[in-house]
């Protein structure tokens, strides 16, 4: 864990025992997030990205491994967490429709974190709420007394962000914050998030499946597949030269809108087969069944993470010095 790191995951594992077998949602990931960064966590279904976020925030305690925040281990469920911790780590959920209670007004919704954490007196709180709404560019007079149904999806998500900011946090987990929204609304929210990160010195864990969005938001990108990390790198380098075959498959599958972007995409890798379920993880490297460049060793041995230049890490036999096909 580096000195500047605000959150570190050390071999984080989260398994869910079910009747059909053990769901290996998160299967050993290690990550460092530096203060002020936006770490983009990308993956498809079954990748474990949402479960990772849920462990960070305390919805689940890890099965094994550590989560270290500001130097202190915090790997427990939220019920055991201190109020101070709950104040510092906040989350914005994906679906604004259900993250705001339809039977409460925005004022009531925003006042909950303020009251729980005893922030300010009653009069202070009103000012605070006004300030919060202004920070997300929603005029308070128009919004405080409305119910969520009366405002649009983008605005609801802004309220959710304002609610996350209410406790003056240091770290915000954003779980697909714009996936449910139209693209014409998404931009404003993303830009507000970026601005707030600068102004308030926040750190984000930004989860999404949209790589094009990630390109414009994240400072570092981490790709997950079936509970493990495939590749982690700084954004520009990542998109310029993706290494892991899964990463390249993902990038080559994105539908882009301009010719310039087409040129940037790696050569087309046609994905085959379905994504396996985390109950039934293939042996060896979990990606080998779909990998166009698999080697014999891939079906037997799970590769180790190896470090490359500029902080990049990759988990693949092609890049860790074992036998290579040319």
């Amino acid at each position: 864990m580096s000195a500047m790191s605000i959150l570190a995951l050390e071999e984080l594992v989260k398994h869910f025992p079910t009747k059909r077998g053990v769901v290996r949602a998160v299967d050993g990931i290690s990550l460092d997030i530096a203060a002020g960064d936006t770490l983009g966590l990308v993956g498809e279904s079954g990748s474990g990205k949402t479960t990772t976020a849920q462990c960070v925030v305390g919805i689940y305690p890890p099965t094994s491994g550590r989560i270290v925040f500001e130097g202190v281990p915090i790997g427990m469920a939220f019920k055991q967490r201190s109020k101070e911790l709950k104040r510092k780590i906040r989350i914005v959920f994906q679906d604004p429709g259900s993250s705001l209670n339809p039977k409460r007004t925005i004022k009531q919704i925003l006042s909950v974190p303020l009251q729980v954490h005893g922030i300010g007196t009653r009069q202070d709180r009103l000012n605070l709420m006004n300030h919060l709404l202004e920070m997300v560019e929603l005029p308070p007079a128009d919004y405080l007394h409305k119910h969520p149904q009366a405002i649009g999806g983008g605005e609801k998500q802004m309220v959710a962000i304002a609610r996350a900011l209410a406790t003056n946090p240091r770290f915000i987990v954003l779980d697909e914050p714009t996936s449910a929204l139209d693209v014409s609304v998404q931009g404003k929210i993303i830009n507000v998030l970026i601005r707030l990160r600068e102004e308030l010195g926040l750190t984000y864990l930004f989860i999404t499946h949209d790589l094009s969005l990630m390109r414009n938001v994240a400072t570092r990108v981490a790709i997950m597949y079936l509970g493990k990390l495939c590749e982690v790198a700084r954004t520009a380098a990542f998109f310029r030269s993706p290494l892991h075959p899964y990463t390249r498959m993902l990038l080559s599958s994105i539908p882009v809108v301009t010719d310039e972007e087409e040129v940037l995409k790696p050569k087309k890798i046609v994905s085959q087969g379905e994504i396996p379920s985390p109950v039934d993880v293939p042996p060896g490297c979990s990606f080998h069944l779909r990998c166009p460049e698999r080697l014999p060793i891939c079906s037997e041995v799970d590769p180790e993470m190896t470090a490359h230049e500029d902080g990049r890490v990759v988990r693949c036999h092609l890049f860790n010095g074992s036998e290579r096909a040319c």
Partner: protein, 329 residues
Amino acid sequence: MGDRLLDIKDLHVGFRVFEGNLRVLNGVQLDVKQGERVGLVGETGCGKTTTVKSILRVLPMPPAQITGGRIMYRERDILEMSRGAMTALRRHELTAVFQDPLQSLNPVFTIGTQLRDIVKDSAIGRGKRLTRRAVEARCIQALRETGMPDPERIMTNYPVQLSGGMRQRICIAEALSTNANLMLADEPTTNLDVTIQDQILRKLDQLVEDKGASVVMITHSMGVVRDMTQRVNIMYAGNIVETGPTRKLLKNPKHPYTQGLMASVPKLTGEGVSDGIAGRIPNYLEPPSGCRFHPRCPYQMSACSDEAPPFFDITDAHKVACYLYGGEK
């Protein structure tokens, strides 16, 4: 590419609700030629699903009212057809794939049962009686064509036992098994992972090409429409605002809304995200007069609020409904 298969002329559809009348579709013009793949792009609430439901005539008619326009399918007006004629049309000519396969597939019947029903129904309608073996073979073939591994086993599965991608493949198999002429695909891959989406869209592309079918691909994703369609229609608040050859249009969008949309899409080139388009979609109870986009338009002129602009030609195939490109200014 042949003659016109579908031609929606000046379609107006409204919904009666407590607060009044929601005037959703405001004169939609859209056409599809035989063998063509046409996109219909728009955001939430623009009326694309209402348009699809109007074509299929599955709008719930008490709240919905069709207040004007015609939907011509090969010289016949769908809105004027009798029930029997419409059923025949749905059976033989039209087919649809929707966004959520879990809603399209009946959870208590096996895939086989559902697929066989569709095949039998369409064949009988065309006057052929297929033997059981023929029906089975047709079903297996349809599944195989969509790239399903092990179709025989899939026939015995229930929808819940399969992944989202496989379910959507089945819906596509169902849709294509009737050899219909026009497929309406309403956000068919929006719920799927991007690698699966890629697989399915390619398959769909190939199948449609093989059968010479026409497709109306409805989506909110500019990227999907760029890969999958030859022509695209951009829809806003119940109107088509721009239409033209897909690649050319996306490279050179003319309508301010299209320009705003294209600017909002995050790009791999990494130039940051635009602030989106200011404002909200209009309230259909009291939509803006004239061009419905004018309150949000950075180039708003006085003419825009008077009367809705007609289509002006940029090139022969590329048309824009915007006074920036014609009319008295």
